[in-house]
């Protein structure tokens, strides 16, 4: 039986299954460690629509107040909105209570520093030590404050930031027909407001009730967005958008009801952003080489990082990137808005590109460099990982090797990437090539080596 990671307390925060694993007491302790780390001052929290969100909010409040922090609770709200608010209000830091695209029985704490960015690697390991040492700041009666709620400022701030980076009037003039699947997530109400009232689209929305449970698998992918695709076809929409529960990831469906590969969405956004903003591009190792082609066309460079939003953001900050993201997971990071993965920025860039070019989504995608991508998962036993990687490397002696995150082997026209999952005892294999046949051949070769 596959081991399941019911609770993970690590450098990326805390994530676990509710009901005995991620307990309220654990949430409070972690929050108290966080409050101790960032210091007595304003800390911003918000959550997605999971049933455990309310419970976890109170637990986190308890820990933060106990550390002497002043808590600003933004309520049910997308993660990027929290991040933008933190930076804008010069808070000490913040937390999003969300397990992002994970199933509803999970919840997690995402941690942000005073700039509203993911904690970097050093900050994360310092915090983890503090948590284990249990040497927390403990406020006395005088220093403990009431939680303050602010439900209105942050959404308005977020939308204004996004709108300032696109030609909103051009989008409004087109009166696009847009379909939306909000997965009953934290963005449900904000997305309707953004698309309908602010951008003047003719909106057909499903799953935009934040009081209900997730109606589909939470991760927005072609295979989970069949209902959205159906809605696009039925309503004759120009485009369809599918969000995840905390509104950072976005999948896009074209006007024919075809859900785009997430790498293509990133490619469209990179294409649009580079036209507006000078700078280089940062993506993870598993992201399509199409990004390199587009960057090259704009005379820009691409930096590669290990998988994980925090890694991409760290590199983007270091090189002053114009745009970045993670292809396969549906994440666009546009620092002109904020250095965070943001589905609203992604929606705006796609609509902006449609408005400016007058082209349909499928036409825009057809103009992108063509690659075929394949992926799969292989179960493995701990201890065998090194051997597997080594034999793979030896099996492809002519490839360029990158061991930054698992193993990436690259050729001029194709690459393969194998890495172990952070969440399950699985190896993830991804390949990309210019043609479907080449991709299949590479995938089959690698698969044989990993499973033999």
């Amino acid at each position: 039986m596959a081991r399941q990671h019911l609770l993970k307390v690590g450098v990326s925060g805390v994530r676990g299954v509710i009901g005995g694993f991620l307990t309220p007491a654990l949430g409070a302790s972690y929050a108290q460690a966080f409050g101790t780390y960032v210091g007595k001052g304003r800390v911003v929290i918000g959550r997605d629509t999971r049933t455990s969100g309310e419970m976890l909010t109170h637990a986190v409040n308890c820990g933060l107040l106990a550390a002497g922090c002043e808590v600003i609770d933004l309520g049910v709200i997308p993660t990027p909105t929290i991040q933008i608010y933190i930076a804008h209000t010069r808070a000490r830091g913040g937390m999003a209570l969300t397990a992002s695209h994970n199933p509803p029985e999970y919840n997690a704490l995402k941690l942000f520093n005073r700039e509203g960015l993911f904690f970097n690697h050093y900050e994360r390991s310092e915090l983890l030590d503090l948590f284990h040492q249990s040497d927390f700041a403990r406020a006395g009666n005088e220093e403990i404050r009431a939680v303050r709620q602010d439900l209105t400022t942050a959404p308005a701030l977020h939308l204004a930031r996004v709108l300032s980076r696109v030609d909103a009037d051009a989008i409004r003039r087109r009166r696009f027909r847009v379909a939306l699947d909000g997965v009953n997530g934290a963005g449900s109400e904000l997305s309707v407001r953004f698309l309908q009232s602010v951008l003047g689209t003719q909106l057909e929305a499903i799953s935009v009730d934040p009081t209900k449970v997730f109606p589909r698998i939470a991760e927005p992918r072609p295979d989970t967005l069949t209902e959205l695709a159906e809605l696009v076809r039925r309503s004759g929409s120009d485009v369809g958008f599918g969000q995840d529960p905390d509104g950072d990831r976005l999948a896009v469906c074209d006007e024919t009801g075809q859900v785009l590969d997430n790498d293509d969405v990133l490619a469209l956004a990179v294409h649009r952003a580079l036209a507006y903003t000078p700078g280089d591009v940062v993506v993870n190792l598993t992201t399509s080489a199409a990004i390199d082609d587009i960057a090259m066309a704009h005379g820009r460079k691409v930096y590669r990082t290990p998988v994980g939003e925090a890694n991409v953001v760290e590199m983007m900050q270091a090189v002053g990137a114009a745009i970045g993201g993670e292809g396969s997971s549906g994440g666009i990071i546009y620092p002109a808005v904020h250095l965070c993965r943001d589905s609203y920025t992604a929606m705006a860039l796609v609509l902006d590109l449609m408005a400016e070019t007058g082209k349909t989504v499928s036409q825009l995608v057809a103009e992108l460099p063509r690659y075929t991508r394949l992926s799969g998962k292989v179960a493995f036993e701990h201890g065998r990982l090194g051997t597997l990687m080594q034999s793979l490397e030896e099996g492809f002696p002519d490839a360029e090797t990158n061991r930054m995150d698992g193993l990436k082997l690259s050729w001029a026209d194709r690459w393969l990437h194998v890495r172990s999952s952070n969440t399950e005892p699985l190896l993830r294999l991804a390949v990309e090539a210019r043609t479907a046949e080449a991709a299949q051949t590479l995938f089959d070769d690698a698969w044989r080596q990993l499973t033999s």
Partner: protein, 453 residues
């Protein structure tokens, strides 16, 4: 800092930040959520201490996590929480309040479905669950929901209105020291709703500052209200602790009345009309109770000192057998109020008594035989308290003996009580006599305890 945290049968108590931490709060609340039967909500309230903000969040999280809906009444007195439990058909309740302790303390107090404190057996089970740390956390789709209710004080006042003729109390001029606690919220509302005209001092409720130690003793009430009584022409003065479960009294002359007197006064008021004739009191409180009880055919049951013994005694009798129960601290429970220590109800009972008799506080007290009480504390040095008590007992063979909490020996006109404090390393020595100070008994007692200690 040896007293900064106490975990016992009466719950969890400590100085916030120093001894009492978020983790204690969350685990104790989770233990309570595990202890209570599932399926019914839990009522929550807190006194205005700022630390209550933090503790409230932790308690809510743990209870929701254990699958209980939580009904939060906000900043209310402990009696308001207790009344709401039964009214809302809840599984139980928690009051976040360190009551008469200083502002830097806080505590969790636990109540069962009847709104009464947990008895010793129940509290023992709760403690065992806490120490085992095996809590019944529910899965993601079976978690509780939080409901915030801001009408609890009015509902509580509806209850008071059914028992007391509040309008008849209007002619009395009453001054109240709210000690910056929850009584201010209740009394303000009573002024609005019933035109009570209570004059309130120290009524600012910010949870940060208190005008004085929230203790209901005669000396504090005299210091606070004494100078005001005559200039205001007030008939009675009352002083509450932070969560309004205890009350202290000043007479119209501005004298602080011993907290010991609240229980006998209420016994005198309630016994004549009460079906139950039993008065439950602890071994250290005044023998005036026996005198008063005798006038109305009542009987005094003496139990060990502390709230827990009084709560346990309640559960060994049928409610209709009991006239009232209480301690010498100004904490009194009456069956009309479902055996809740309620300072506001005690105040209203005393005011009703004054109106019905047409007597002032000092006139009522003048009608009682005078008992003189002497109290002392001796630092504890002996490690063999039982031997000390047995030796002491041998020295007074002629009295009637009670060994249920230290040693109490009584004679028809006097008694003494020697016991070890549950909260501090001291031996408490108390002697009382009708008519004159028991100076001789007290001094020889002190000398003997010191030599044996």
């Amino acid at each position: 800092m040896n007293s900064a945290l106490r975990i016992s049968h009466v719950g969890l108590r400590g100085i916030v930040g120093k001894g009492l931490t978020a983790t204690h709060v969350m685990e104790f609340a989770a233990a309570f959520g595990t202890f209570l039967e599932p399926g019914r909500p839990v009522v929550l309230g807190r006194d205005p201490r700022l630390s209550g903000n933090m503790i409230r969040e932790g308690v809510v999280a743990s209870l929701l996590g254990c699958g209980h809906d939580v009904i939060d009444l906000g900043v209310v007195s402990t009696p308001v929480v207790q009344h709401a439990i039964q009214r809302l058909d809840a599984a139980g309740g928690i009051a976040i309040s360190a009551s008469h302790n200083t502002i830097d303390w806080n505590a969790l107090r636990f109540f069962g479905p009847s709104g009464i404190y947990l008895n010793t057996a129940e509290a023992g089970e709760l403690l065992d669950i806490y120490h085992l740390r095996r809590f019944r956390y529910e899965e993601w789709n079976r978690l509780g929901k939080l409901v915030v209710v801001d009408t609890a004080i009015d509902a509580y006042l509806d209850g008071l209105e059914r028992v007391f003729d509040l309008e008849s109390l209007r002619p009395l001029k009453v001054v109240v020291d709210c000690c910056n606690g929850t009584s201010a919220l209740i009394l303000r509302r009573m002024n609005e709703r019933f035109g009570c005209g209570f004059i309130l001092i120290n009524e600012r409720v910010d949870g940060r500052t208190v005008a004085h130690t929230p203790n209901t003793s005669a000396s504090i009430v005299e210091l606070q209200l004494g100078p005001l009584m005559k200039p205001l022409g007030a008939d009675a003065g009352f002083l509450f602790d932070m969560d309004a479960d205890r009350v202290a009294l000043a007479d119209e002359q501005g004298r602080g009345i011993s907290e010991e007197m609240i229980l006998p006064m209420l016994a005198d008021h309630l016994l004549p009309s009460s079906v139950g004739k039993l008065v439950i009191a602890n071994l250290s409180s005044t023998a005036l109770l026996e005198d008063v009880a005798a006038r109305h055919g009542g009987r005094v049951l003496r139990v060990p000192v502390g709230r827990q013994a009084a709560i346990d005694a309640l559960s060994t009798y049928r409610p209709e057998q009991i006239a009232l129960a209480g301690e010498g601290t100004g904490a009194v429970m009456m069956p009309q109020f479902r055996f809740v220590y309620d300072g506001i109800a005690s105040m209203l009972a005393i005011l009703t008594m004054m109106r019905q008799r047409g007597q002032s506080v000092s006139e009522i007290l003048a009608g009682y035989p005078k008992h003189h009480i002497l109290k002392a504390e001796i630092p504890l040095t002996s490690s063999n308290i039982p031997a000390l008590l047995i030796e002491l007992q041998g020295l007074y063979p002629d009295g009637q003996m009670d060994r249920s909490d230290g040693l109490r020996i009584s004679w028809p006109d006097r008694w003494f009580h020697v016991r070890v404090s549950q909260t501090e390393p001291i031996i408490r020595v108390i002697a009382e006599q009708r008519g004159a100070e028991p100076r001789e008994l007290f001094e020889s007692l002190l000398e003997r305890v010191r030599s044996l200690n």
